[in-house]
């Protein structure tokens, strides 16, 4: 694995549990040592250095606050180890608690705080040391949805303020899309795609990424030429990605659920590419209606129809209806099949993580 993270970046490693994202984070932190390869921070190789000698700080999923210390003592722990003067510790701890809005609780013990407050203390305890890299291991994973949303925004703002490189680990794709400058989607120990959120969402590079980020809307296809593909059991449609594949190669066509339109075949826009299918189910979600449409025996597409008008919603085709799905040519992208989906090939576990290169 080769990874380059820029200075001051909000970088997210996203993937299912067991994909190696936490292990990678722990290697940067120094809790685990890579068997081979290097971990460079600011150009210095820190592989082999113990955690306490690295310019990194971690926010743990379980927060790992010291239960026998007050918040002040917790936050001041790192500075005390660095032999910072008492007066400066006091000032910086106070500033940091102020930043996370817990000044009044400074003398309390962690057990007297709510989960969200504990999370903020964990953040303050790490940030106060001004690390070169801040590592966050699913820091919001233990919180309820509403609290998580609020803290996502706070976390992003804090990152922008302090300008420290954040390396964030999560399995929640929505969280990753909201907060990150760049996302590395990981699967079975390797990176499937590493790009900014828009690219990862709109132009997934593999079927795994397409499936993990959002709903997997994949149609098997064969490349027909430099700007055309033929969808399996379907029409030949234009594609500007086709040039990246060789003619005759198998691939998948991806269209995001909100970019699809659904209509009865007789009302379908004739100038847009599309496929025929049968409505399997329709689910009311409040802001939109989610429809499942079977276009082939093993291909099901999800469509999100915004509930803009009640009248239009009432007239959506019901279950069993024959419909046509259409999309604009620029909304369809081609992806190759993920390596992990194929029989496992023997990969040598060479990990190289490069970090904070200016």
């Amino acid at each position: 694995m080769d990874l380059d993270i820029a200075d001051g970046e909000f970088f997210t490693m996203l993937g299912p549990s067991g994909c190696g994202k936490t292990t990678t984070l722990r290697m940067i932190a120094g809790f685990e040592q890579p068997t081979t390869g290097k971990v460079l921070i600011d150009g210095t190789d820190v592989a082999g250095l113990p955690a306490y000698k690295r310019p990194t700080n971690t926010v743990f999923q379980s927060y790992a606050l010291f239960p026998h210390m007050t918040l002040e003592e917790n936050v001041g722990f790192g500075l005390k180890r660095k032999k910072v003067s008492k007066a400066e510790i006091k000032r910086r701890v106070a500033d940091e608690l102020e930043r996370v809005g817990l000044s009044r609780e400074a003398k309390r013990k962690p057990a007297q705080l709510s989960g969200g407050q504990q999370q903020r203390v964990a953040l303050a305890r790490a940030l106060v040391n001004l690390p070169k890299v801040l590592l966050l291991d699913e820091p919001l994973g233990a919180l309820d949805l509403k609290l998580r949303k609020g803290l996502q925004v706070q976390l992003k703002n804090i990152q922008r303020d302090v300008g420290i490189t954040f390396v964030y680990v999560t399995h929640d794709q929505e969280e990753a899309l909201t907060m990150s400058d760049r996302i590395a989607v990981m699967n079975a120990g390797h990176i499937e795609q590493c790009a900014d959120p828009e690219t990862v969402y709109d132009r997934p590079s593999t079927t795994f990424v397409a499936g993990f980020i959002g709903v997997s809307n994949l149609m098997p296809a064969v490349v027909k030429g430099s700007n055309e593909i033929e969808i399996a059991d379907g029409p030949t449609v234009p594609s500007k990605d086709a040039g990246q594949f060789s003619t005759g190669e198998k691939c998948f066509a991806v269209v995001r659920p909100e970019k699809l339109t659904v209509s009865l075949p007789e009302n379908a826009p004739g100038d847009q590419p599309g496929v025929d299918g049968i409505v399997e189910s329709s689910l009311y979600l409040g802001t939109s209606t989610q429809m499942a449409i079977r276009v082939a025996e093993d291909v099901q597409m999800t469509v999100l129809v915004p509930n803009a008008s009640e009248d239009a919603r009432q007239h959506l085709p019901g279950g069993g209806a024959k419909v046509r799905l259409n999309w604009l040519p620029e909304h369809m992208h081609l992806v190759a099949e993920s390596e992990a989906d194929q029989p496992a090939d023997d990969q040598t576990p060479t990990e190289t993580v490069t970090e904070g290169v200016n």
């Binding site: 120094g30 971690t58 606050l65 010291f66 790192g78 057990a111 709510s114 040391n129 309820d144 959002g214």
Partner: protein, 283 residues
Amino acid sequence: MKAWRWLRENAVMIAGILALLYMLTPIFVIALFSFNDPTGRYNFEWVGFTTQYWAHPFAITELTDALLVSIRLAFFTAIGATILGTLIAIALVRYQFFGRRAANLLIVIPMATPEVVIGASLLSFFLTLDVFKLGFQTLLIAHIMFSVSFVVIVVRSRLIGFDRRLEEAAQDLGANALTTFRKVTLPLIAPGVVSAALLSFALSIDDFVISNFNSGSTVTFPLYIFGANQRGIPVQVNVIATMLFAVTVIAMLVVIIQQRRAEKASAMRPEEIANKPAMSLPV
């Protein structure tokens, strides 16, 4: 009819009180007879109430000397056994090494071995070795030996419930191994270590069988009482026994209160465990 119902409803409480009476009566009798004014050499029959022995609890020099020996012995036993036992417990819980599983089992064997056997074999060991003179030294070695198992078990249970992430967090914040142990590990296992120390103190001050074999000419408090029993027991024995009992109860209370406080401090809020969310889809 009414009485029968009352009895049925309070059966558990009545049984509990009876059990407590059964357990506590001997202690009560000891305390009571420390106020007795016996006529002969034996303090077995109630004669009359007096506080004269409480006024002079340390009047018998040999008894007082024996008590001081016991306290000194128990003090050093507690220190030695606690340090050794805590280190063993940390090794057993934290490190993977050859023979760890065997050591985990072997550590309880001294607790299961009859004291007479330990005492006798220690004596022959000391005599064969011929390095230590029988007396305080051999007593201390013997007492530390049988106390260590208890310390290991108490501290080990505390360590097993310990969140390793806390140590990682300390290291992450720049603390080396020693600082991590001093600032994080030790304060958090302290309640276990303190109870272990008090337990080994109590075990030592109370021991008769093993001490009897290995004491040489040194006389501890239990050995004195046993010897005195042949000639008649002075009332001061009851007085001092009652004092020891009171001190033990107070020490136990201190430990319990301290442990409660530590548990309260380290208890995580239940909502954090309950609210672990499943993955959400963007819709």
